[in-house]
Symmetry: C2
Subunit: 152 residues, 2 copies
DNA sequence: ATTGAAAGAACCAGTTT
DNA sequence: AAACTGGTTCTTTCAAT
């Protein structure tokens, strides 16, 4: 865990919100000036705190109208099985999130696809690659909120 | 839904991957040149296909070590209740995702906090604001994958 | 931490295919 | 209608104070 002071925090908040602004604008927003802000950003990047810069695309506008949360229970817990399972998830671009869980349910996925048929294709492909015990798919009707911003 | 041609798709793929690169580099990557790419990006932005530009921060490095998926069942289905519930979710920065679901479970949340205590504080605050019937929290042990990139 | 300056990128108009 | 050219303006980057 990296030590971050108040100015760093402000810079990160600004960048999370809109990374397209110029150094000058960000410096003004955090109450500092160009060079010190630039040096801090460089350090935060080197430390890996600031990762890649991306654009957020409108999923609906691009025809990705279906979003599923998939709860997975498995009976297999060997290292080899897990390795294959993780590799399969990482390789599939429709899997936007994958977490290994504590407790009853072993994994949760967030899967973004064009429609229900595309989800089924994904599901069939996945279960043919690796054996899973029980799968529950939750279909999103409405995306109330979606952000990657941390509550700094 | 917006009509997108092959060049637009390539541009979006590049921007999703790394939006910090210069127009020239993106143009080269998609096999075109600066001006046409610039015009296309402008149009995609105006159409809302390209949204805000953000940086991805390292949650662990910043001390956000706990991530919960929260499954919520409610007995209330009136408009007024729902309005209050949605407003509460939108207002809470630790809620990174919130979806209204089809079926048995009514809502799913992704909640990112510093530790289990912070989750409990969030949970207590939420249920004191709005009445919910049943809440299950799934604790993430390992983030296998996390991206906002669409499978273009 | 500020200034300032050189290199580079974005943006836009005019022109061409 | 779409792509190239070139030039103005804004940014980034970094050295010197």
């Amino acid at each position: 865990m990296v030590r971050i002071d108040d100015t760093d925090r402000k810079i990160l908040i600004e960048l999370q919100e809109d990374a397209s602004r110029s150094l000058d604008e960000i410096a003004k927003a955090v109450g500092s000036s160009k060079t010190p802000v630039w040096n801090r950003i460089r350090k935060l990047r080197e430390a890996g705190v600031i990762g890649p810069q991306t654009v957020r695309l409108d999923a609906d506008a691009l025809g990705f109208e279906a979003c599923f949360f998939v709860l997975i229970r498995t009976s297999e817990h060997e290292a080899a099985w897990q390795r294959r399972f993780l590799a399969a998830l990482k390789a599939r671009p429709e899997v936007q999130e994958a977490h290994r869980l504590a407790g009853d349910i072993d994994y949760i996925l967030k899967v973004r696809v064009r429609n229900a048929r595309a989800y089924d294709a994904f599901y069939q492909a996945l279960i043919s690659e690796v054996k899973v015990h029980n799968v529950t798919a939750l279909l999103s009707m409405e995306e109330i909120k979606s952000t990657t911003a941390l509550p700094l």
